[in-house]
Amino acid sequence: MDKDGNLANLKKLLPFVKPYVPRLIGGVIVTVVLTVLGMTPPLIMKYIVDEVVIGGNWSLLEMLLVISISIPILSAGLRVINTFTISYVSHRLIMDLRRTLYGRLLQLPMRFYDEMGTGKVMSRLMSDVATVRSMVTMRVLSIITDFITFWVAMFMCLVLNWKMGLILILLLPLYLFNYFGWQGPIRESVRAWRTKMDRVSVGLQERLSGVALVKAYGREKKENRAFTEETHESLSQAMITAVYRAGYNSGVWAVSGLRNTIIFCMGCYFVIIGDMTYGAVMAFLSFAQRMFEPVLNLTQMAMQLQTMMVSVERILEVLEFPIDIADKKDAVTLPHVKGHVKFEDVVFEYKAGEPVIKGVDLEVQPGQAVALVGHTGCGKTTLTSLLMRFFDVKSGAIKIDGYDIRDVKVRSLRTQIGQVLQDSVLFNVSIRENLLYGRPDATEADLIEAARVAEIHEFIMRTSAGYDTMLGDEGIKLSVGEKQRLAIARAVLTDPAILILDEATSSLDSLSEALIQKAMANVLKGRTSFAIAHRLSTIVNADIIVVMDQGEIVELGNHETLLEIPDGKYRQLYEQQFAGSVSEGIEAAD
């Protein structure tokens, strides 16, 4: 079952390999030739020793010199050709795979990212692909090489002297026993050591992140003692591992030593009784060595294959994740948007049977400002995501200027809606490149105008390189307020008819606060806007306040009309908060 699944998975990757099959076959053939060439030096050596040096047939010496020089030249040339072929294929393969994966990623719905998380996406795209690549090309070739080497060496040994060949085969299990005998304890011990090291580093992390507390309680000495203890434990475990490793190493020495000793002495015995030539003994010794080496590689193959299958599976997870949101065949380009937005009985669910938005009806006229309020999880953010078409509605429809957003090209929709996210994602490039992100062809004047509107121009001019100042890792660090204003400028530059604002919750210093409010007022002018509001000013100034609760709109109106509803949710809670704080204040003052 599992194997069938693996096979089926591999088949799915075949199309990636297909274009390179002729090259791969060429590579395999050259590899075989190379391997066989690699087996010749012991034979040449045998010939020289037996026929020429001992046998006295000196006329052959020059010819053998030519052969023994030409073999390294030939194999060097072949190796270069072979590596070029194989590297070319493997790097192309990795490129094709990554390109396809990334193309897919960009089409995948938000749901995918929510489920997977950045780390997992990254590992699929980068390390898993690399694993597959090295398996498909390098491993396959080394398996071929190992396989041929093993059998040819064994064959040669048996031909040179079948009795010694048999002894060699009998020694092989000893070699494997040593490996597998030690491998278990070593792995166990390494695992135990890792666990202990983990404990050390967890403890360390704790102490470092809580360093203020450690100091506050004057626990430095105690912590040192604990750390010493933990580290010492891991040290002891490491030493156990070292003992095993040294054991394994010496085991290899012992086994290969025994092998060489027996072969050498037996070989010499056969030389004495005349069953063998000395050159043959030498050749036998090198073949024996070549026979043993590949065995371990081959035994590890199964494990490596397993690793690869896991990677393949993970890559397929991305490739086969359904694309829910794609342009319809007859999708039209959304014409220049005026900003009329209508939600018609919109229902949406992330998980079947658990609706997050339960029948929302809302009509917004061009240029109106909408404030969405309600506690976390009430569906505010989801509603704006639906408008951006990050998700498709389950039933109902969202219409912009009368167009159902599912009937228009996604690109034409999203380019006309600006969005400012709560956490204001900015990239580690210059300020200019960040601002131009949505509209790379904007003029300098447009750029500065957008920055002015977002009240960030002056700040930018104060930075060392102005608009070319780098952000992020290698550049300047921004405060929350500056980030938000940059994000606003970025959105404004595309001059969207509809703007979605997800206000940050954190409190800002007085200057930032004032600037943000001014920026907001500037950008909302003449645009339809949806604000997930956290600021009183935003809410009070909104044309429509949408009060949401558990995926439904419970109240709709502006600040004044909503306050007038007796026992209305908005009024009730607004007053409760306001009155509550005042009375408490009086109490405290008393």
Binding site: L106, G257, T505, K569
Partner: protein
Amino acid sequence: MNSMKRFIKIYIKPYWFRMLMVMLMAGTTSSYSFLLGYISKFTIDEVLQLKTAGQVATDARMKTLSQVEKLSRRDPQNTLPHSWNDEDVQPPKSRTEKIQWLWWIFILYLVVRTLFAIINWFYNYNISFVGQRIVFRIRLDLHQKIQKLQMTFFDKQQTGKIMSRILDDVGLLQSEVTTTFVETTRHVARILIGIIVLLSIDVQLALMAFLALPLYVLTYKGFQKAIATTFSRYREAYADTYGILEERVKGIRVVLSFARERREFRQFFKRLGGIFRLGLKSNMLSVGLSATCALVSGVASAIIFYLGALQVRGGAMSVGDLIYFNMSMGSLFQPLVALTNVNAVIQQMAVVISRVFEVLDEDVRIEDREDAVNLKNVHGRVRFTGVSFRYNETADYVLRDLDFTVKPGTSVAVVGPSGAGKSTLVSLLMRLYEPTEGKIFLDDYNIQDIKISSLRNHLSMVPQEPVLFSGTIVDNIRYGQEGTTAEQVMSAAKSAELHDFIMSLPEKYEARVGERGSNLSGGQKQRLAFAMALVTDPSILILDDTTSALDAKTEAKIQVTLDRIMEGRTSLVITHRISTAMRADRILVLDNGRMVGWGKHLELLDRCDVYRRLHAQQQNTDQDTELFSEETNL
């Protein structure tokens, strides 16, 4: 290099004897392959008595050449007696003699092999031993140092992130240090022995062989440089792509909302192309290196062997010597290459080592004065006079000219927007930092004149996010004070209103708190932190935004506990919530490091702009948790 010397002096020297032993063992094992070659030579020449049949000597011998050759093909043993060679010094051995000799060689071989296997074991074991010990010592020293360092260090270093990296880096030393030191000895020994062996066999041939060796090294060096640059460019390209990709994946909403997919895709493709070219180039260079090296050593060996064979023909060399020479020369190439790598490894080590010393040499600035006093009873008056603070000379001031007094037993709330300097103020009081200017007094003592341990015993802080350590509940509560009795622990837990919960657990006080206290709820963690703070029965309590991470319902309950705990204690309450601040006797408003307000809630509403704005803003910022949550309808 200076730090390297110190490193050797401080960390390696204590193990000098073991290191010496290991190096000796390394030297011994390096002679192995030559020993093996010698045994072969001895066997060929002395036991098997193989001789060339084609020696160019007198005409008479030339005549017999073809005859001998034919014989040798049919039956090699017949070539052995060499009865025609009357100049031969050794008498030919009989078959039984030879077999007897062979037994001796068999035993010698086995003994040597066993001996070397044992030496090898000790060698491997001791390398690990020394390596692990050294790393162990460094880790301990680093840790000890961290514990002593002033808090400013941690801000500079992003809260210990880099520290833990250094501790990991040290692990690198473990594998590299000893191996590098020891392997270098091994290689040098091997090369020296090899050169002597080659020269002792045949000076002329040896000199010829030495011509090939530098060629080999030069090839290696030439390629190595190109490989290193290409590979580092490849890695850079890869890391860049990785970074950019990570950004895009994290900011996928931005990518999608600006409909930038096509452009992103094209950019990514371009980058992939770069990676492809560099990857291919780096592979080609690697194969170029190994192919050329194989070529050089292959051709050189062939030529040398040819020349050696001619020597044998001329009678200047025995068959055994030829083979011995060939074997010895082959084992010279590898250590030569390894030696060229040593420098790079040492450089890498030096970086880690100098980083280690950087930390170890860091100034410890907060230490007890010699005449520091031990405070017994503290009333709990706290006074700041003209206190300013900045992290270093080039940084902006975080706090400026703070002047205020907290009367014993009263509470002061510190409010202000994030980044106003609230937490720094507390750190100064705890003496985690020293004020840049001004003084802080506890009762009538400048806190710099009080022993740090004494000061911190009278002050307890409940951090914003409770930091719990893996261990049992009682371990955690006891954290603040060694040797507290079970009653004290229990009474602290009772004060924190956690006792009942603890008793409901199957293991009661011995219940384990998981990593980062994961099996406790937010409120329980917070209460545990209270208990930790209370076990020392401090006169001054500092609450650092203690309730901000809790939901409203839990907060309301915790608040009741807090009120009780704060009774009779001087308390400093850091908060960003006006509703919390209102409970305090006095409110201190900070904005951009300056004190912009001091007084009671209503007074401040009246005259402090920042306070008023914070208050107004919170009608909304708190709506998620308060305005619209059912729990506040209590």
